[in-house]
Symmetry: C2
Subunit: 224 residues, 2 copies
């Protein structure tokens, strides 16, 4: 059996409201290079095809970035929707091979490593899907209208990306959903009955959400 085709859908749809920045975080320069280029390079190293999902208003900026940074890695571009779910689905529609393993990845996670991508693709090739998770390190509480209570932190895990599924199964799950926004694809897929396989992620593979996160990845890169 030959290895399944690998395709990364790199989602750069976020507006960066939590960053207090005009430029969405995934296009900001990190050591002189746009944040999203880090992920593209890593997936390219893993022999994965690349589909980039851009916000409508960044299409012009994208061509400028490609030129300015002389980005040579082959990739396809499509435009995102109003929600993360619609953006991922727009990317998925570009995938012709239903048997391909599709890795949905946040463009705002530039610290993703080649070895983690490989481990998730390998696990997904065996189990049909795989996502990276890391243990919660802090105490956590569940706070709702009815309760405010500590929970056993040993039972809780932070979910990262890339999250890898078979293209056909993921596409079908989106089409059977009502396209309400899910915070991640694993949540969507388990609602259609799939058992999610997890691999141990990497603590450095954070999503840049707040200004502190940008400082973190910058210094993590400089300390490598």
């Amino acid at each position: 059996m030959s290895a399944p085709e690998r395709i990364a859908v790199i989602v750069a749809g976020g507006s960066g409201q939590r960053m207090n920045a005009k430029m969405p975080k995934q296009f900001m320069l990190l050591n002189g290079k746009p944040v999203i280029f880090y992920s593209i390079e890593k997936f390219h190293e893993c022999n994965s095809g690349i589909i980039v999902v851009l916000p409508e208003d960044q299409k012009e900026n994208w061509n400028k970035l490609i030129r300015e940074h002389n980005m040579q890695i082959p990739h396809q571009v499509t435009i995102g929707g109003a929600t993360r779910s619609l953006s991922v689905y727009n990317g998925l529609k570009m995938v012709k091979n239903g048997d391909a393993l599709v890795a949905v990845h946040d463009a705002a996670r530039p610290m993703i490593s080649v070895s983690l991508i490989e481990r998730i693709f390998d696990e997904a090739a065996t189990k049909g899907n795989a996502i990276p998770v890391i243990p919660v390190k802090d105490s956590i509480r569940r706070i709702t209208a009815d309760e405010n209570k500590s929970v056993d932190r040993d039972q809780y895990f932070i979910v990262q990306t890339p999250q890898i599924f078979h293209a056909s199964a993921l596409k079908k799950a989106f089409e059977n959903s009502n396209f309400t926004s899910f915070t991640d694809e694993a949540t969507l897929m388990e609602q259609s009955g799939l058992k999610i396989a997890t691999v141990t992620g990497e603590r450095a593979n954070i999503k840049i959400t707040f200004p502190e996160d940008f400082i973190f990845v910058q210094s993590a890169l400089n300390n490598k």
Copy 2:
């Protein structure tokens, strides 16, 4: 009514196993100053008395740090126990005034701010107790022997320190417990029936646990 006495129990008991470092993280130098000194300075600014709980093998090192860094802030020192709970309890035993508000704080959280300390003391003065929490920003899953399932992240919050309680109530809760280790004091207190009051913490107020965390606080300080 006069404001209640404020006392900080700053717990520096951890061995730093997750840091891969010989020196416990709370004594490492951050911009030339021991990590734990940052918290001591902030509580001193808030007119709080200070009790430092040290590991047995750091007592000599402590005196050396005080001398070398010319640390002038008045404080008491006691020795920690085998677990975090025993360390906190040892610190608590130094508090003579049962009506004091005691702030239990991780020495490994140097980014604590004066304004956050003030907000928690103020809330505790009104509600009887208060702890800082921040929303979880990532997707999270509950993974146990029986299930592996996404949970609604909007219901989960990361717990920080300082956690503030009345000295007498906290002491009593420890004495009524069997001194098994709790990950935080709120968990202990709610088991004795207390309703926990929460205030919004600060994202920068992280606990240095992994080497990446040290890099983060270092650059957060330098970017101030």
